[in-house]
Every structure is written in structure tokens, then in C-alpha cells.
């Protein structure tokens, strides 16, 4: 479904990614794990076209994503839940969700809105509130629901557990699994919490200083001594 080939990204003089290759098959949950600064977010931002790689290719369903604008990427069925959630704080919960459907003009938007409110009842209670007034967990739910409003086939999640209480993390990951197994959404999950990520994903890549260090099935990675030592504590 998604094929990242030999991707190299620079920010000015800083090399964030160096020749990384990642593939995601339709129906999978694939995770990118690694320490802060390893290049995980940069990988997702390259897919969404909000950073421009220096070298390499990103092929999605046979098309070269690097020729597309960010809004075209969304139209092609890719939604990105950014690190730190980035809800539009001065807009209401409902307006955030409706903007998630900005690329659509079918008649089912209201139905989907209703559906997201069923999936995230906390958001329904707060639909007319400014998004900036929500708690961290609620904002994460809003960011996910907003991404789902574009009806993505591939969902990019950047550190959904960041800064949240364990009980909330648990329910968010439950929703991630459910989206994948019941709604058929393919997921590329970025996490610093390697244990959690590998327990959720089918396969994983370990990023270190902008390169892919290790890759394999989640079971293999959970059993790998290097991974255990560096990331599983």
C-alpha cells in the first residue's frame, strides 16, 4: 500500500533521515519506534508532504506522493494525527470534526459526525466547546476523530500516548486496534512507548539517528536483545 524508498530529509543543515525504507501492507498496523529525535515524526511529515525530502521516493497505491500537495494526499485517503494533537483550539469540537471532512463533498458527513460521537462519547458532550478547553486525552480523541472524518484508508498516528494517563492510553489503543480490525483502516503508528507499540502492531521498525536499525515482526522485536535493552527497559 505504502512504500517509502531510500528517503533522506534535511532541515537546513540537520540531517533528520538518511536513506530509510519502510513498507506498509494494506490491513497492517506497522510501528516506528525510537528515541526522541530519531526521525519518526519526520517520516510521517514526509508522507503528508509538509516536509520535502531531499532524496528518495514515497509510493502510495502506485502513485508518487512526492508529486502531490498535502491536501491531495488527504484526498488520496491518508490522514495524519500529528504529534501533540494540534487541535484547533479556538474552534469548537464540532468545527474541528467538520474540518476533518473538508476534502469530502458526499452526503454522509453528518452521519459520520454522529458515528464519531458514538465512538468518542466524551466529544459528544463537548461538541460546542472550544477545543482548547479539552483535557489532553480528549484532545487526542478529537485529533483521531477529526482524522477519521476524512475516511482514510491509511492512518498516520504520531505518539498518541504522549503525556496521557495510563487508563486513557489503554482506551485509545483499544480504539486503534478496533479501527484496524473492524473498520479495516491500515495504520502506521509512531511511538516512544515501544512495549505498547509492539503489543499493538504486526511489524515494526526501530529508528536510530535517522536510519532504520532493526526491523521485523513485533514478536521478533519484542524478543530482540538490542530492543529489549534500549527500548523495553
Amino acid at each position: 500500500m505504502l512504500e517509502i524508498q531510500h528517503l533522506t530529509v534535511n532541515y537546513g543543515g540537520i540531517q533528520a533521515l538518511q536513506d530509510i525504507s519502510v513498507t506498509v501492507q494494506s490491513g497492517e498496523i506497522v510501528t516506528l519506534i525510537g528515541a526522541n529525535g530519531a526521525g519518526k515524526s519526520t517520516t510521517l511529515r514526509s508522507i503528508s508532504r509538509i516536509v520535502s525530502p531531499r532524496l528518495g521516493q514515497i509510493i502510495y497505491e502506485g502513485e508518487n506522493l512526492l508529486k502531490k500537495r498535502p491536501d491531495e494526499v488527504v484526498k488520496m485517503g491518508i490522514a495524519h494525527v500529528p504529534e501533540g494533537r494540534r487541535v484547533l483550539a479556538r474552534l469548537t469540537v464540532e468545527d474541528n470534526l467538520l474540518l476533518g471532512a473538508y476534502t469530502r463533498n458526499d452526503g454522509a458527513i453528518q452521519k459520520d459526525l454522529h458515528h464519531q460521537f458514538e465512538r468518542f462519547p466524551r466529544l459528544a458532550e463537548r461538541r460546542k466547546q472550544q477545543a482548547g478547553t479539552l483535557s489532553g486525552g480528549e484532545q487526542q480523541m478529537l485529533a483521531m476523530a477529526r482524522a477519521l472524518m476524512s475516511r482514510p484508508r491509511l492512518l498516520l498516528l504520531d505518539e498518541p500516548s504522549l503525556g496521557l494517563a495510563p487508563i486513557i492510553v489503554k482506551s485509545i489503543f483499544q480504539i486503534i486496534r478496533d479501527l484496524n480490525s473492524n473498520s479495516g483502516v491500515t495504520i502506521l503508528l509512531v511511538e516512544q512507548n515501544a512495549q505498547l507499540a509492539l503489543n499493538t502492531a504486526t511489524r515494526g521498525y526501530v529508528l536510530e539517528a535517522g536510519t532504520v536499525k532493526i526491523t521485523g515482526s513485533s514478536a521478533d522485536l519484542l524478543g530482540d536483545d538490542r530492543v529489549k535493552q534500549a527500548y523495553l527497559g
Binding site: S48, R69, D71, R86, L88, L98, T103
Partner: protein, 316 residues
Amino acid sequence: MNIALFFQQIANGLAIGSVYAIFALGYTLIFSILGIINFAHGAVFTLGAYFTYTFMGLAFGFNGLLAQQKLPFGLPFPIALVLGGLAAGAIGVLIERAFFRPLRMRGGDSLLTLVSSLGIAVAIVNIIQYLVGAEAYAYPMSALGGLPPSVNFGTPESPLIVRTVQIVIFAVSMIILAGLTYLINATRTGKALRAVAEDATTASLLGINTDRLIMFTFFLSGFVGGIAGTLVGLSVTVTGPYFGIAFGLKGLAVIVLGGLGSIPGAVIGGLVIGLAEALVPSQSSALKEAVAFAILFVILLVRPQGIMGRVQVQKV
């Protein structure tokens, strides 16, 4: 001060204040999206007034490349006003594509952008002078069609007279204001604009074409600027190529007073300055131009972020 005079001055204040408001919104729209002040806005205001004059099929004066030229047809004032606004909007888009966008793509800093926009203003003034000379142009009395020149809101014994022009200006400004408010608060495009204003990167992750919305913002800004230019031209005259420069500075006072980037702020700021100027006694009318800046100074001492401004957050 007698009551009739006071009434007239309030009417004057509301009329000019409402034009300040819509003009200042042109700055506000661009500021809230890009975090920059477009100093070419005053020049776009001037162009709007000339465009309307042109669309009315009126002839230019004896100087400049287009001396004595006119369109082969003349449109009624209301239609010319709208077309003048649309043409000014198109100029706004052109300015964005030709200047602001290339600078933004190169990561030019905001001081550079600001100086460039001043340069655009100067260039527009020069081009106008080159084309149609430096003389003043007035819309003909017939611009308002069959409307009487003034309306008496009092009785024949104690008249309260307001010039029809002031009523027209106020009404047109209010229509524009209502339209913009509706657009921004109640439409899909308006929500997308607010999303881009708050966080352009996130907006593009949601599938919003930020480039296109920025162009649309410049169009709106130019449109309200052009309409404002025509309305002021109708009230006084189009005083020449520098017509919009002083007005442009006044508009800056309005947005700073109201709070940078705040739409209600621009409206309140415009009305406050318009009313305050109108209430300056006629024997000290030489001080009129200073009033806006005096009010600005006093308010900013008390409220540095302006009347409706948020405490400034760093744009990323």
C-alpha cells in the same frame, strides 16, 4: 453645540467609522492568516476608487497615458462599485502571487515582506500618476441616481439633516460587514480560513489547500479595500494617486487600537476613531487627523494588546 449639529456629526462619525472598519478588516484578514501587515492596502484602496470611476464610463483628465480616455460604456454606480471592488480584489491576488508568495517560499523574514509591501504601494501610486495624472476625480452627483441629497430625520421646524451619501456609505459598509461575518463564521470556507489562521500546518493536514485560501484572503482584503476607496471617494473626492496613503495609516491606527488580528476589534476601532474625529469641534478641525493617533496612544498605554486583542502569541 446644538442638537441638530450633534446629530449630523454622529451620522458623519458612523459613516466614516464604518468605512474605517471595513477598510481595516482588509489588514486584519491578511494579518490573521500570515502574521504580516500589508502596507500596499492603502494603494489598493486608491485603485478601487479609480476602478469604479473607470467602470462608470467617466473620462480621465488631461494628463497621463490615458488622458481623456474612457470606456465605450458607462455602468450605474452600484454596479461600478461592485466591479471596482472585484478589480481591487484581483489586484490583491496579483500582489500575493507576484510578491508575498515568492518571499514566503524563500522564507523571507517579515521585515523584508513589510518593506516590499511599502514598495508596492509606492509603485501603485506612480503607475496611477503615469496613467491618469495627479489630478482629483469626483464621481458625478448623479452617482446616487434619483436619491435626494439629504434626508431630514427631524421635523420641518427642528430639522435633523443627514447627507444621503453618509447613509449610503453606512449601509454599504454594514452589508459588507454582515457578509464577511457570515462568511467567516458560518461557511465551510470561513472555518477553513480560521483553521489556517490558527495553525496553517494542521490545516493542510486536514486537506485544506492553504495556498488557495491565502489567495482568497488577499482577494477579500482587496475587495473591501476597493469598496472603501470608492465610498470615501463618493463622500469627498478621489484626491489623486496619494488618496489612500493617509487613509492607510489611519487604518493601521484602527487595527492596532482594536487589537491586531481581531475582527470585532477592527470594527470597534473603526467606529471609535470615526466618531471621535467627527466630534472634534469645527474650530479645531486642524487637529482632526491627530485625534486617531491620540486615542491610540492613550488606549495602548492602558491596554497594550488593543481593545479586543489577545495577548500576543508567537506565530509559528
